[in-house]
């Protein structure tokens, strides 16, 4: 009868609710908890998974150097399954436990939801505030039109990456082809690359400009045909995932003689998918690769990343996340507290020296990090290869923080 079924479900709900209400995750007392949310299941599971592994290694280092205000950092992970609603659930879980920080790296749609969610929460609950540390959602408007006082972006945004690519283009390249994914991110790349090419390289002509539906194209050979017909010397693309790897593979198979400028070839899986055939052709815009320390003679950083390599089978591409925690460490120590209201005020405008020796700033106007950026080429003959392919990244161009100090349109509301 209906009754029994209802009783069963009621009972189930009661039991689970009571159990859950008692506390979701148990953790050590006294640590500074950071709620980290990214996809940990489903098609993008490797993003969250690899980030977690890198965070663990980084926190061992940071906590080994005292943590912040005498307490250690601790990461609590929450699988957002690539859905903004789940990320907002993570936010609720974090604020329930009075966590001072929520961190997220993948997906500008999720980032947009979190910025709004954190803003509204902090406004409605001034005694239980939280800071949102953005470790990789790069849509430009997140620190422009959608900027917020409580949001700190720790990675260069699309505009900055586009400028880096424009600066890295060699003098002899005068014809470029643009191919991007047809959604907000890809359209931003398209727009920003064209803006910076006009500004910095007026001699360069954009001979082709395509948008492809996200994740749907399996056969890139017709696009390669068009690229070849246009006579382009460089292909600039913000594509990620199969959209990037299949494009590059198709180009190489057809014998396309072109330079590939990407934003994500250096992330997990890229090197494997491109393979040795990409020698000297593929470039990527990145915050870090394992050979920079070798090139600049930073032996302690090199030793640190080398040890990570010995324990993991993927590149330590996110070693730059250490800078995030060094910022948090410095800000909290400066404010003398891990309370969000206090350390956020200390964090904006802060400058520290990062592990590659550059001066990195958290810009006060829009909470965007200003750090150095590199363009690396995938090639043989480097000390540390990627994913056992025999090839690795070598820096071709270094762009300094001051060169990426772009104007912004942020009008953030500051707490009184």
């Amino acid at each position: 009868m209906l009754r029994i079924k209802r009783l069963i479900s009621l009972l189930l709900a009661v039991v689970l609710t009571l159990w859950t209400g008692g506390g979701i995750v148990s953790a050590q007392q006294g640590t500074i908890k950071v709620m980290y949310t990214d996809p940990l299941s489903g098609p993008f599971a490797q993003v969250g998974d690899q980030n977690l592994q890198q965070f663990k290694y980084i926190l061992d280092y940071i906590n080994g150097r005292g943590g912040a205000v005498g307490r250690k950092f601790e990461i609590v992970s929450f699988d957002n399954k690539s859905a903004p609603s789940e990320a907002l659930l993570a936010l609720k879980a974090a604020t329930d436990q009075n966590m001072p920080i929520i961190m997220q790296c993948s997906g500008s749609n999720i980032a947009a939801a979190l910025i709004e969610g954190v803003d509204k929460h902090n406004e409605r609950n001034p005694n239980n505030r939280i800071v949102y540390v953005n470790c990789g959602a790069v849509a430009t408007e997140l620190t422009n039109e959608k900027c917020s006082y409580w949001h700190f972006r720790m990675d260069a945004h699309v505009g900055m990456k586009a400028e880096t690519m424009a600066r890295a283009l060699p003098k002899d390249v005068t014809k470029v082809y643009l191919l991007n994914q047809d959604y907000l991110f890809g359209q931003s790349v398209q727009r920003d690359v064209k803006t910076f090419l006009t500004k910095l390289r007026p001699d360069v002509k954009v001979v082709g400009d395509e948008l492809i539906p996200l994740g749907k194209v399996k056969d890139f050979s017709p696009y390669v045909t068009k690229i070849k017909a246009s006579g382009a010397q460089a292909l600039i693309t913000g594509n990620w995932g199969p959209d990037m790897t299949l494009l590059i593979k198709s180009g190489m198979d057809s014998g396309l003689d072109i330079r590939y400028y990407t934003m994500y070839a250096h992330l997990g899986g890229g090197a494997t998918a491109i393979g040795p055939a990409g020698n000297g052709k593929v470039r990527s815009v990145m915050a870090f690769h394992e050979n920079i320390a070798v090139e600049t003679g930073k032996t302690d950083t090199e030793g640190w990343t080398k040890q990570f390599r010995s324990q993991h089978d993927f590149d330590f591409y996110a070693a730059g996340f250490r800078t995030i925690f060094e910022f948090l460490q410095a800000a909290m120590n400066k404010a003398g507290s891990a309370d969000p209201t206090k350390f956020a005020a200390a964090l904006e405008g802060l400058t520290i020296t990062d592990m590659l020796g550059h001066q990195v700033t958290m810009r006060k106007a829009d909470h965007q990090i200003l750090s150095e950026y590199f363009v690396g080429v995938f090639t043989k003959g480097v000390k540390y290869d990627s994913e056992k392919t025999g090839l690795g990244w070598k820096t071709e161009t270094t762009v300094l923080p001051k060169d990426l100090d772009q104007p912004n349109s942020c009008n953030m509301k500051r707490p009184s």
Binding site: Q46, D49, Q50, V217, K218, G255, T272
Partner: protein, 315 residues
Amino acid sequence: MEVLLVSLLNGLVYGMLLFMLASGLTLIFSMMGVLNFAHASMYMLGAYFAFSVSRVIGFWAALVVAPILCGILGALIEMYALRRVHRNGHIAELLFTVGLAFIIEKATQMAWGLLPVPYRVPPVLDRALFHVYGSNFHAYRGFMLLISILMFVAIWLLLTRTRIGLVIQAALTHPEMVGALGHNVPRVFTIVFAGGSVLAGLAGVIGGNYLVTEPSMAATMGPIVFVVVVFGGLGSLAGCFIASLIMGLVQTFAVVIDVSLADLLARLGVPVTSATPLAEVLTMPLPRVGALLPYLMLILVLLIKPRGLMGTRDT
């Protein structure tokens, strides 16, 4: 002319890749009425098995071994699980395969990891076969074309020249009657399901190193294969073949034909500016929506011919 020829070639190769995947599904779908959502998972397993096997005994052996492994797995699934679900109806079978796809994806992640695996084209095929107007035609694509044509011929011969093939053909259109005539229909079902899995596995072996071998490859290939199968029609392998080619060519040519609705309207004398309502939709050039055309075509065909292009029965 150059563009036409090159695009024709590209469209043909892509269409044949789709056919390799869709042929197995059409057989299963036509025979059992089961929309097998786990078909793309067999494709993925074929690629992964080939990756692991080729590291031990080489690519050419893997070409034979991996599809057989998929076939065995398919037979087991059919005999011990799908058969039970069969009596609960078509929707239950479909949902079963959905759950199966979930589980296979997770198992793959657990067994081979979350990242793409370095399953590569064998070196002997990794070069240019010939040149077409300055671009290389990669040898491996020629190999893919060859295998898919052989596959088509083999299936056709099997269905028309062997006894079991004739039984299968009959069961494709009149399953109950075939059972009434005394043939062991459950065994035929198992053979077809296993055969479909072999075909999917073979497609995976061939396609996995050409495309990327990763745990989400089933989810990305799945929808387009369904579209092809339903578009081609139930009960018709020829329909599947034609549908694959049409889809491949349409998607390829859409990329090179750079027009939008606004262009057409302008030719008719109706200017479209950014202020026009739905301007975003009208100025959308064809290449941008190329990959969506299969879905549009599917909807159109189903509205006019619910059985698909050359379908011979409903379910």
